[in-house]
């Protein structure tokens, strides 16, 4: 009966812990190890111009919707300028303003993006474009081409593909020649395509972006064609007519508005530089979760002040120590003083490292024990005697620190980090057992405590485990489930197999 509840509770806890963990790991992309890094690109736009005499207002189009990419940070470097980001019809615009300046000016805008397949572009559906006003003789050429292409296509996408094939054909028709007579740049080419598509009542626009590579000193925006098929936006290579986006293509801006515009400046030029680097996957995952407004992360460790986080990274490992404690005592059956004393000892080992922790702890307890036996002779009352032990322990710690420092062993200093109450209690417990049950029992209990503490320390000190627990504290629910299950473990302890050996034979 109770057993069923225990299993149910354990199953629920495990399910809750594992599902939150799986969501954070698979969907939000929380890394399982702390050295995982996500590739990221820092794109720097520098705007150069010569300042005129009057006030200056510089605007630069910056990325708004970037399918396939997430933004980790963006900022501008521009001394003396006021900076703001505005939303205009074409998307976002960075704006710098200054009342008076002189000479050559350079303004920087930097954005760090990382690849994120899940970042979708929830773009708006555009209205059908009005038929464009085109003058003769271009109008006839457009009409001919539209009619011709429409013959050979079924829908918006196939229309676009056919159109691009026709205009890019190596032996173009005369109408195409006429159409492209005034086109001198890829940008103008794409713009002309949008005009033709508008004549066919297909919403289309120019997009310009960067093909991100590891390192690009000077690069320019590549124009691309984007059409709306009534459901979603689709991308076409204006040169080949195939429907695709280049690899790592960061869409910088849409439309044919000037990339940069400076009121009150001359010789305006904008340059792009790209540098690939790696950023912490954890930061990316948290960023992603923030974008999705996931409550899980809002209520995570990362939302606490850094200092508190540091405390919790220690505290969260205590359940692991407690689990070890349960395993060692109920499954293995090791004798230890107190229920949680070994875990506390293990915590203090964090400061000293294992070897010195064991050495110093044993040394302190041994010294303290001998002092305790001396005090025994004086027949002090219990509480004064305990206090005397405590005082002696503090003095011993001081002596050990000073002596080891003089001998040039700095590890001895860390003895000061032992919680001395734990040491004093260990000494007291041990001496009582020593007197009443003999040195064998006392030493067995003391060794058992140290063994459990050492194992707990090793378990709590595993870096990957610490990382997992601090980024997925929900896994402690699983630990809780295991401890609850162990709480109903009624099988033999390992040491009992030895203890009852005489009974095991036939």
């Amino acid at each position: 009966m109770t057993m069923r509840y225990v299993y149910l509770l354990a199953a629920l806890l495990t399910a809750a812990g594992v599902s939150i963990f799986a969501y954070k790991w698979q969907v939000l992309g929380f890394p399982l190890t702390d050295d995982q890094e996500t590739p990221a690109w820092t794109v720097e736009t520098s705007v150069h111009f010569d300042a005129g005499p009057g006030p200056i207002k510089a605007s630069l189009q910056i990325p708004t919707l970037t399918p396939g990419f997430g933004t980790s940070e963006e900022y501008s470097v521009s001394r003396n300028y006021g900076f703001s980001v505005n939303y205009v019809s074409g998307g976002r615009q960075a704006q710098w303003t200054v009342r008076r300046t002189a000479g050559q000016q350079t303004l920087y805008y930097r954005i760090v993006v990382y690849e994120d397949r899940n970042s979708d572009s929830s773009d708006t559906t555009p209205p059908f474009p009005l038929p464009p006003v085109i003058n003769e003789p271009l109008k006839t050429a457009v009409d001919v081409i539209v009619n011709d292409v429409r013959e050979h296509s079924a829908d918006a996408a196939s229309f676009t593909a056919e159109l691009l094939r026709v205009v890019n054909s190596p032996s173009p028709a005369s109408s195409v020649d006429l159409l492209l007579a005034e086109v001198h740049s890829p940008l103008e080419f794409v713009k002309m395509m949008t005009t033709v598509l508008a004549a066919a009542r297909i919403p289309a626009r120019i997009i310009r972006g960067l093909e991100l590579q590891d390192r690009m000193r000077q690069t320019n925006l590549i124009p691309w064609l984007e059409i709306h098929d009534g459901v979603r936006w689709r991308f076409f290579d204006p040169r080949s007519g195939t429907e695709n986006l280049p690899n790592h293509f960061l869409i910088w801006c849409r439309g044919d508005d000037a990339l940069v515009q400076v009121d009150g400046g001359t010789n305006v030029e904008a340059r792009f530089a790209v540098q690939k680097n790696f950023i912490d996957s954890m930061a990316v995952a948290e960023q992603r979760a923030k974008v999705r407004q996931s409550a899980l992360v809002d209520f995570s460790l990362a939302s606490l002040p850094i200092q508190t986080q540091a405390v919790y990274s220690v505290l969260l490992m205590i359940p692991i120590g407690a689990l070890i404690m349960v395993l060692m005592r109920n499954l293995v059956g090791i004798d230890a003083f107190g229920t949680f004393m070994p875990v506390l000892i293990a915590l203090s080992f964090r400061e000293t490292q294992l070897f010195w922790g064991l050495v110093l702890f044993t040394l302190l307890v041994a010294l303290g024990l001998s002092i305790r036996f001396l005090l025994e002779r004086l027949r002090l009352l219990l509480v004064p005697r305990l206090s005397a032990v405590l005082i002696v322990v503090v003095l011993l710690m001081l002596v050990i620190s000073i002596v080891s420092h003089k001998m040039g062993m700095e590890t001895g200093l860390s003895v000061a980090l032992f919680p001395m109450v734990i040491i004093a209690m260990t000494i007291e417990r041990m001496s009582v057992v020593w007197e009443e049950r003999g040195p064998a029992d006392a030493i067995r209990g003391g060794t058992g405590s140290l063994v459990v503490a050492a194992v707990a320390y090793l378990a709590m000190g595993m870096n990957w485990l610490e990382h997992i627990i601090t980024s997925f504290p929900e896994l402690l629910l699983v630990v809780l489930a295991v401890v609850i299950l162990l709480g109903r473990y009624t099988g033999y302890r390992l040491t009992e197999l030895v203890r009852f050996k005489a009974l095991a034979g036939d």
């Binding site: 009582v432 029992d441 009624t490 099988g491 033999y492 009992e496």
Partner: protein, 321 residues
């Protein structure tokens, strides 16, 4: 390893985890613990239930009452000082006599001579809580020192052997006698080095002995054979033990009984978490007998009926053993 566990399971050996989860947690409600953990209370309850206990000479519940110690001791030659909340034999001083030449010098069971001031110091430690759980202030009992029945003279080295009966839901299920050795300092606690010998519940005769989990046939100090001793008043002992259920309300209980030369069997203490070494002493697991009791439980039998059931069902010659 798994094999060893399977063997133990087959032999019906009860493990600590199982004892804690299935017996103690199920049948021993925590609020009843004071009845056994506090020896003063146990004594009172046992007395009202009509069981025989070592006579209480006096209590010292406070440091300021320490000076009463010599008044309580008076002219007595032998007595025992023990903490009301002690366990495992910790903090018990057994005084068996006085030095012939110096009457203010006491002789302990181990033969050591101590002054009264040392007894006082010890008592003050007891009262200060050195031997009680969590170091809480405690009460020291001064009580009659049991003079053990000569039946055990051959197989005890100083001190008093005591009989431990495990009582499950009011039914005695297993028993052993614990014989002090030089190593156990005259105390009858197995983990201090006393010898344990199983007892045939049916007849009250001792079976073989164990020392430190190993089987022994002779007492390590006296060399006398351990098996085959007839314990006097066995029926009475079983009935007293069975009555432990009514006295304490605990369903899984260890009753410690000593046999005094003048007063017969006396209840020394009762235990809510009796150890499992009794299985080694009896060369037999507890689980089978426990299952047997679980099967017939239901008719609320009287203590003497339960003792009779145990004698019949759990004797060394009956089918179950």
């Amino acid at each position: 390893m798994l094999n060893a566990a399977r063997n133990l399971r087959k032999r019906g050996v009860l493990g600590v985890n199982e004892r804690n989860a299935q017996m103690i947690m199920k049948y021993n409600p925590r609020h009843l613990y004071p009845r056994v953990d506090n020896k003063v209370l146990t004594k009172e309850l046992a007395l009202t239930a009509g069981m025989a206990v070592p006579e209480l000479y006096g209590l010292i519940g406070h440091q300021s009452e320490l000076r009463n110690l010599s008044k309580i001791i008076g002219e007595r030659d032998s007595f025992v000082i023990k903490p009301a909340h002690g366990s495992g034999g910790d903090g018990i001083i057994v005084v068996t006599g006085r030095s012939a030449r110096k009457r203010e010098c006491f002789r302990l069971a181990s033969g050591v001579l101590v002054m009264e001031s040392e007894l006082q110091y010890h008592t003050s430690n007891v009262v200060g809580g050195q031997y009680s759980l969590g170091g809480n202030p405690d009460t020291a009992l001064v009580e009659y020192c049991v003079e053990f029945d000569p039946i055990f003279a051959e197989v005890s080295y100083q001190g008093v052997p005591d009989i431990r009966v495990i009582v499950y839901r009011g039914y005695p299920v297993m028993a052993m006698v614990r014989l002090p050795t030089r190593m156990s300092g005259g105390k009858a606690n197995l983990h201090q080095g006393a010898v344990g010998a199983g007892i045939d519940l049916g007849t009250g005769r001792t079976l073989g002995g164990v020392l430190d989990n190993a089987v022994v046939d002779e007492h390590p100090d006296t060399g006398a054979l351990i098996a085959g001793l007839q314990i006097p008043g066995w029926n009475f002992i079983l009935e007293s033990a069975a009555r432990g259920l009514e006295v304490t309300g605990l369903g899984y209980l260890g009753v410690d009984i000593v046999i005094d030369r003048h007063h017969g069997p006396l209840i020394l203490e009762m235990n809510a978490r009796p150890g499992l070494n009794i299985q080694i002493a009896n060369c037999m697991g507890l689980s089978g007998r426990i299952a047997r009791v679980d099967k017939i439980q239901g008719d609320a039998a009287a203590p003497d009926a339960r003792a009779k059931f145990a004698r019949r069902e759990f004797s060394a010659t009956s089918s179950l053993s």
